[in-house]
Amino acid sequence: MIRYSILVFGILATFLIAMFGLTILPKIFIDEGVTEPVYFTPFEVTEGHRVFVREGCIYCHSKQVRPEGFGADFERGWGRASVATDYRNLLPHNLGTMRTGPDLANIGARQPGEDWHYLNLYQPRAINEESIMPPFPWLFEEVGEDARPAHEGLNLPDEYRVPGRKILPDDEARYLVAYLLSLDQQITGVD
C-alpha cells in the first residue's frame, strides 16, 4: 500500500520538477537573447497584432517556419527558419499549430501589397475561389460611391460589388495589414 505522505510527495515532486524543466528553464535560456534588442514596434503594428489575436487568425495560420530539410517550408518560399527574435516580443505569442491556411511568418515579404491584403480580408474568395478563410467585413466601411473622393474603394470582382457603394478599410483593417506587412524576416532576426 502506498503511504499517504509518499503519495503526496511524489505527486508534487514529479509535477514541480517537470514544471521547472519546461517553463522556468526555457525562460532562463531564451529570455536573455530576446529582451536585449529594442524593437521600436510602431503603434499600428502593435494594434494590428491585437486584431490578429482577437479574430483568432492563429487557429488556421501558423507563424513559425520550420528549418530547411524539415518539411518543405523553405522550398515553399515561406522564409528561413524562425528565430525567437522574429516575434518582436508581442504577446500573446502566436506560433500556432495549424496550417489550414499558409504560414504567415514571412507574409509581409511574400505579399507586400496593401491592396491584396484588404481584398483578402474583406472577401478571400475575391482572390482565390477555393479559399475557405472567413471574411472580415466588420473591419471595413461601406460608403456611397461619391463619398470621400480621395479614397478609392476596394477593387472587388463584380460578384462581390454593391452597386453604387464602395468599400473602404477602417482603422482596424489598416492596423491589421500594417501588422501583416511587418511580418518580414528580412527585417528582423539573423540570416
Partner: protein, 471 residues
C-alpha cells in the same frame, strides 16, 4: 476518537446527491452549448461565408470557445462531480465541504458565462487552451481548489485503511490542476517563445494531469465494480500511476517540434512521450485482464459499454500520441487535421465517453430513479461512438495526405486546402450524429432528475443478468 460509525452506501449517495448532481448537470449544460459551437465552427470550415457578417460568430472566436466550454465546462465540471462521488464511495466518507462546493460550482458557472462573452466579444487571451482572460481563469482555478480541499479532507477523515488506485489518481488530479492553472496565469512568461513553451506544457498537461487521471480513476472504479471482480494486478496499477506521473509531466514540448525553441527541450519531450508507452500499456493490460472472460457484460451494462469504449480509446490515443511525437512522423502530421482528430480521440472517445459511462452508473444511485429507455441509451452510445469514429477516421485519413502534400513543394498550397473539403463535410455530419446523442443523453437526465412523466420502477436494461453482475 472512538471507532467511526460505518456508513451505508445509500447514506453516502444521499449526502452526495445535490453536489454531484449540480456539477453533472452544469457540465451537461456546457456540453450542449459547446456542441452548438462545434457545429458552427465545423460548418464554417466548408461554408466560410455562412454567418460571415457577424464578428462575434467568426470561426476564430467560435472555435476557441468550443474548446474552452468543453474543457472547463463539460469535462471539468462533470469530471469533478464524478471524481468526488467515486472518492466518497471508496473512502466511505460523505463528500466534505458540500456547501462550499455548491457555491464554488455556482461561481464556476458564472465564470464560464463571463468567459464565453469575453471570447465572443473579442477579449480572448489568445493562447490555445487558455483563451479565457487570466482573471476568469483564476476564478475557475479557485473553484477547483475548494474541491481539492474537500478531496484532501475526505482522505484525512476516511473510514477505510487502504487507498485504492482510483484515489491516487483523483488526489493527483486535484493537486495538479490548480497548480497548472495558477502557474499558467503567472505574468512571468513575457516573451513569445517562452510563452509558447508554457502554452504547450499547460495544454498537454491539462489533458494528461487533469482529465486523464479522472478518466483512469473512473475506469479503475467502474470496470471492477460492474463486473464484481477485483482489479487484475496491484503491481501494475502502481507502475501505471507512477509512470504517468513521471513521464506525462514532460510531454508538452512535442507540440513544438520544428519551432524556434531550443531543440534539446523538444528532445526531452519526445523521449518522455515515447516513455509514456510504459504506463499506457501497463494500464491497458491491467484493465484487459480484469475484463477478460466477462466481455459480454458490455452488452447489458450501459456503464460498462461506455467505459470499455473509453478505456480502449485511451490506449489507442496514447500510443498514437507517442508515435506522433517522433520527428519523422511529426514532420508530416504537425499543422494538419490529423492532430485535431487526435485531440478529439483524447477528449471525446476517451474522456467524454468515460464520463457518459460514469453518469449512467451514478445518477440512478444518487436520485433513486431509473433510466427511462434502454433503446435511447443504446441510441446515445451508437450515435456518439459512430460519430467519433467517422470524425477521427475522416480527418486522420485526409490529414496524412494534407501533410504529405504540404511537404511536397510541387503541390500548390491551395490543393492542400481543397482536398480536405469532402472530409470536413464528413466531420460536420459526424458532428450532427454526436449532437443527436448529446440531446438524447440530456433528455434522459432531465426526465430522471426532474421526475417528469411516468417513473419506471425497475432497472430497464440489465434485467437479464442482474444476478451475475452488479450493473
Amino acid at each position: 476518537m472512538g471507532p467511526k460509525k460505518e456508513l451505508r452506501v445509500t447514506d453516502l449517495d444521499r449526502s452526495a446527491r445535490y453536489v454531484v448532481l449540480f456539477l453533472i448537470i452544469s457540465g451537461i449544460f456546457w456540453l450542449l452549448f459547446g456542441t452548438l459551437l462545434a457545429l458552427l465552427a465545423s460548418i464554417k470550415m466548408h461554408m466560410p461565408d455562412w454567418l460571415g457578417g457577424f464578428g462575434w460568430l467568426t470561426f476564430g472566436r467560435v472555435r476557441p470557445l468550443h474548446l474552452n466550454t468543453m474543457v472547463y465546462g463539460w469535462a471539468s465540471m462533470t469530471g469533478a462531480g464524478v471524481a468526488l462521488w467515486i472518492l466518497s464511495r471508496l473512502l466511505k466518507t460523505p463528500i466534505l465541504l458540500r456547501g462550499y462546493i455548491m457555491v464554488a460550482g455556482l461561481v464556476w458557472n458564472l465564470a464560464l458565462l463571463a468567459g464565453s462573452v469575453q471570447i465572443l466579444a473579442g477579449s480572448s487571451r489568445g493562447i490555445e487552451w487558455l483563451e479565457f482572460p487570466v482573471s476568469t481563469m483564476v476564478v475557475i482555478v479557485l473553484c477547483v481548489l475548494i474541491m481539492s480541499a474537500s478531496v484532501i479532507l475526505m482522505i484525512r477523515y476516511r473510514r477505510v485503511k487502504q487507498l485504492y488506485v482510483s484515489v491516487w489518481y483523483i488526489l493527483a488530479a486535484f493537486l495538479w490542476f490548480p497548480l497548472l492553472g495558477l502557474v499558467s496565469s503567472l505574468p512571468i512568461f513575457d516573451t513569445p517563445t517562452v510563452q509558447a513553451g508554457m502554452n504547450w506544457w499547460y495544454a498537454h498537461n491539462a489533458l494528461g494531469l487533469w482529465f486523464t487521471p479522472i478518466g483512469l480513476a473512473a475506469a479503475y472504479y467502474f470496470i471492477p465494480k460492474v463486473l464484481g471482480r477485483p482489479i487484475y494486478s496491484y503491481g501494475l496499477s502502481l507502475l501505471g500511476f507512477w509512470g504517468l506521473a513521471l513521464f506525462y509531466n514532460w510531454n508538452g514540448f512535442h507540440h513544438l517540434i520544428g519551432s524556434p525553441l531550443p531543440t534539446w527541450f523538444v528532445t526531452i519531450s519526445i523521449a518522455a512521450s515515447v516513455m509514456m508507452v510504459i504506463p499506457v500499456v501497463v494500464v491497458a493490460v491491467n484493465h484487459h485482464m480484469t475484463v477478460v472472460g466477462s466481455f459480454s457484460a458490455v452488452k447489458y451494462s450501459p456503464t460498462l459499454r461506455f467505459v470499455v469504449f473509453a478505456a480502449m480509446s485511451y490506449t489507442f490515443v496514447s500510443l498514437q500520441g507517442s508515435t506522433q511525437a517522433l520527428r519523422s512522423v511529426n514532420e508530416v502530421i504537425h499543422f494538419t487535421h490529423f492532430v485535431v482528430a487526435h485531440a478529439h480521440i483524447g477528449m471525446y472517445a476517451f474522456v467524454t465517453m468515460m464520463l457518459f459511462g460514469a453518469c449512467y452508473y451514478i445518477i440512478p444511485r444518487i436520485t433513486l430513479q431509473e433510466w427511462h429507455s434502454k433503446a435511447l441509451i443504446k441510441w446515445h452510445f451508437w450515435l456518439t461512438a459512430i460519430g467519433i469514429v467517422i470524425y477521427a477516421g475522416a480527418l486522420q485519413y485526409i490529414g496524412l495526405f494534407q501533410g504529405w502534400d504540404m511537404n511536397n513543394p510541387d503541390v500548390p498550397f491551395t490543393d492542400t486546402v481543397s482536398m480536405t473539403i469532402p472530409y470536413l463535410m464528413a466531420r460536420s455530419m459526424s458532428g450532427f450524429l454526436m449532437t443527436a446523442g448529446h440531446l438524447i443523453f440530456a433528455w434522459l437526465v432531465v426526465k430522471m432528475v426532474f421526475r417528469t412523466g411516468e417513473q419506471p420502477d425497475a432497472p430497464l436494461i440489465w434485467e437479464k443478468i442482474r444476478r451475475e453482475f452488479a450493473l
